[in-house]
């Protein structure tokens, strides 16, 4: 008898925060039963078998391979629901997260903008940032290209901007038209590149001749691969996937590799993010479970996908963000 009372007390204590937020759809079983006693990598362990319900994520095509891998692993370890990972660009991802409110998690290869936070607040969402990794944006040419090995930032600006012929950039390069393949204007990659290389002004890049834009990085890969005079840029993972067909350029003499990225030397390294919201995580425990699982194991997968681990402090901050959002629930 005493035992039952104790159980009741524990269960009601678990549900209390939910009721406090006006939650009325209390389920019969404990929605947080997936939380395990032992801590894993600084977070309460997640048991995917116990997780129910669907998860909707969308956003950056750069983060996509990583989120897709984490979703696969989550499913492999027993998660039974459906998890969607849409690759539509960071901007469009935030649009769905902050305006339509259709997604639980937004993948992004750039930090959320103030405008987007305001938008989210209008629909009652308060975005929390989770840094999950680092990308070294890869500037690549076809494997048949024998003349470009490394470029400076100024040369990058010419190649993707004002120059028409390769010889306009360096006189030793052939007098052939530059064919450009770049991510679409709403992608975080495009934003990032125009910030770093063009001082936030996308006009020169969009004014360039022979320009093809696509949100689908595979279309870019195929285009670049197709001509020795083509060039393009995208997340490092897509270069890793197509290593045999593409060459990656060194920027300012620094090659894109793990050592240089971790040492902070590679000039086009940038953070990869997930965004969610405390209310969503508390009302949809499966979302919290997935993010917790993601943060706990991301460093085991991130290099396999082709990116680099986030620095320890940033990852610890992400985990702290998760703990704060879930405070009192585990």
């Amino acid at each position: 008898m005493k035992k039952t009372v104790l159980m009741l007390m524990i269960v009601s204590a678990l549900f209390l925060p939910l009721f406090a937020q006006g939650q009325s759809d209390a389920q019969e079983s404990d929605p947080f039963s997936w939380i395990e006693d032992q801590m894993i990598n600084g977070l309460p362990g997640v048991n995917p078998i116990e997780v129910t319900g669907n998860i909707v994520t969308a956003g950056s095509s750069t983060v996509f391979p990583l989120s897709e891998r984490m979703a696969e692993r989550f499913t492999e370890e027993g998660y039974n629901g459906t998890i969607t990972v849409d690759s539509i660009g960071s901007g469009a991802g935030f649009e769905r997260f902050t305006v339509a409110g259709e997604t639980d998690i937004s993948n992004a290869s750039r930090p959320i903008k103030a405008k987007e936070i305001d938008q989210a607040k209008k629909i009652g969402r308060n975005p929390i940032e989770f840094k999950v990794g680092t990308d070294a944006l890869a500037v690549t040419v076809s494997a048949e290209n024998t003349f470009v090995k490394d470029v400076t930032m100024d040369e990058l600006a010419m190649i993707f901007g004002s120059a028409t012929y390769w010889s306009d950039v360096r006189s030793t390069w052939p007098r052939q038209q530059i064919q450009r393949f770049i991510p679409g204007t709403d992608s975080g990659t495009f934003d990032y590149f125009s910030e770093e290389v063009f001082d936030k002004d996308p006009a020169p890049m969009l004014n360039a001749s022979n320009l093809q834009l696509s949100e689908d990085d595979n279309i870019l890969v195929q285009g670049i691969e197709g001509s020795p005079y083509a060039i393009g840029y995208f997340g490092y993972a897509y270069y890793v996937e197509n290593k045999d067909k593409l060459n990656v350029l060194a920027i300012e003499g620094v090659e894109a590799n793990e050592d240089n990225v971790n040492a902070g030397l590679y000039p086009l390294a940038r953070p990869l993010f997930l965004y969610s919201d405390a209310t969503i995580m508390r009302e949809k425990p499966q979302v919290a479970a997935f993010i917790g699982f993601y943060l706990a194991y991301v460093n085991e997968e991130v290099t396999r996908v082709g990116y680099f681990p986030a620095d320890d402090a940033a990852l610890a901050a992400s985990k702290q963000g998760w703990l704060d959002a879930m405070e009192g629930l585990y």
């Binding site: 539509i88 469009a92 709403d186 320009l211 195929q222």
Partner: protein, 305 residues
């Protein structure tokens, strides 16, 4: 009144008949209502586009640069690419389709027809995205191996255009055959009586007599090519470019709409409303072509009566 009294069926059945008639009428009305609402939405969203401060009608119609994010709204590069790929498609589909039509109508026996026509229909039933990958993975490498990688870009209008021609070939062939078969047999007999061969009869008598039907076919095929989407979205290129070089990549109107509506930009931007203006433009183009085509075929049907 009298006719109702002598009607062989009882009254109850006629009520049901009226009900069925009414339901069918409603369905017919529904399809018209859907068409009208599509046009209304296109017009309304396009209006948003043209009301935007950055956009002027003349800039839209005559501008030679399309890059909405930085304020260039000239539709000509997109229109040019659409017309060029359609032109290539027609160059492929028209002679071939006409030849198939003449052969089926004038030469082939029934047994052969019974084999070829279903094959043509199968060809017409292949989803256009399959043709798109055919263009990208077969036609483009073929063109590049013939003309050289330096000449033919990875994404190019020629490859998309040729494959689009193959796509509309069954349509053109079937319609051409119908047009040719509609020519009265007396004309052929008169021609044979003057000592003409089948080839002479076909080319010098039957085809000229079927010319109005054939031009309707041509226009309908063209309208199909202009509206075709998946092939050009996959194979013709993903960047607006004002070029007359068939071997370069350039984005068509439909290709741009696909790229933008596929989650590329936010809903309240001018880029987004621009796709409705482009859609409206496409609608007017294909609508006009279809109307002219209808007009021509209506005329030729009465020609020999």
């Amino acid at each position: 009144m009298k006719s109702i009294q002598t009607h062989p069926f009882n009254k109850k059945l006629r009520i049901r008949e009226a009900f069925i008639e009414g339901a069918l009428f409603l369905f017919a009305l529904l399809s018209i209502a859907i068409t009208v609402s599509i046009v209304v939405i296109l017009l309304r969203e396009s209006l948003l586009f043209f009301e935007s401060d950055e956009v002027t009608l003349s800039g839209f119609l005559f501008g030679t640069k399309w890059q909405p994010m930085i304020g260039y709204f000239g539709v000509l590069p997109l229109l040019n690419a659409t017309l060029m790929t359609s032109l290539i498609a027609m160059i492929v589909a028209l002679p071939l389709g006409l030849a198939v039509g003449i052969y089926l109508s004038e030469y082939a026996d029934e047994k052969f027809k019974s084999v070829v026509k279903p094959v043509l229909e199968v060809l017409a039933g292949i989803p256009s995205i399959v043709y798109g990958y055919f263009a990208l993975t077969f036609m483009t490498p073929l063109l590049r191996s013939i003309f050289g990688d330096d000449v033919v870009q990875m994404y190019n209008m020629m490859s998309a255009g040729i494959v689009m021609g193959i796509l509309i070939l069954p349509l053109v062939a079937t319609m051409a055959e119908d047009a040719i078969a509609a020519v009265p047999v007396e004309l052929r007999l008169a021609s044979y009586a003057l000592g003409a061969t089948t080839l002479e009869t076909s080319i010098k008598v039957v085809v000229p007599a079927a010319l109005s039907g054939l031009s309707a076919t041509f226009l309908l095929g063209l309208s199909r090519a202009i509206g075709e989407t998946m092939i050009v979205a996959l194979a013709a290129g993903a960047g607006p470019k004002m070029t007359f070089n068939f071997f370069e990549g350039a984005e068509t109107i439909t290709g741009y709409i696909v790229r933008i509506s596929g989650g590329d930009v936010s809903y309240n931007s001018v880029d987004y409303t621009s796709i409705f203006a482009l859609g409206l433009m496409l609608f007017f183009m294909t609508f006009t072509l279809n109307m002219i085509s209808r007009e021509i075929s209506a005329r030729y049907q009465t020609e020999y009566e």
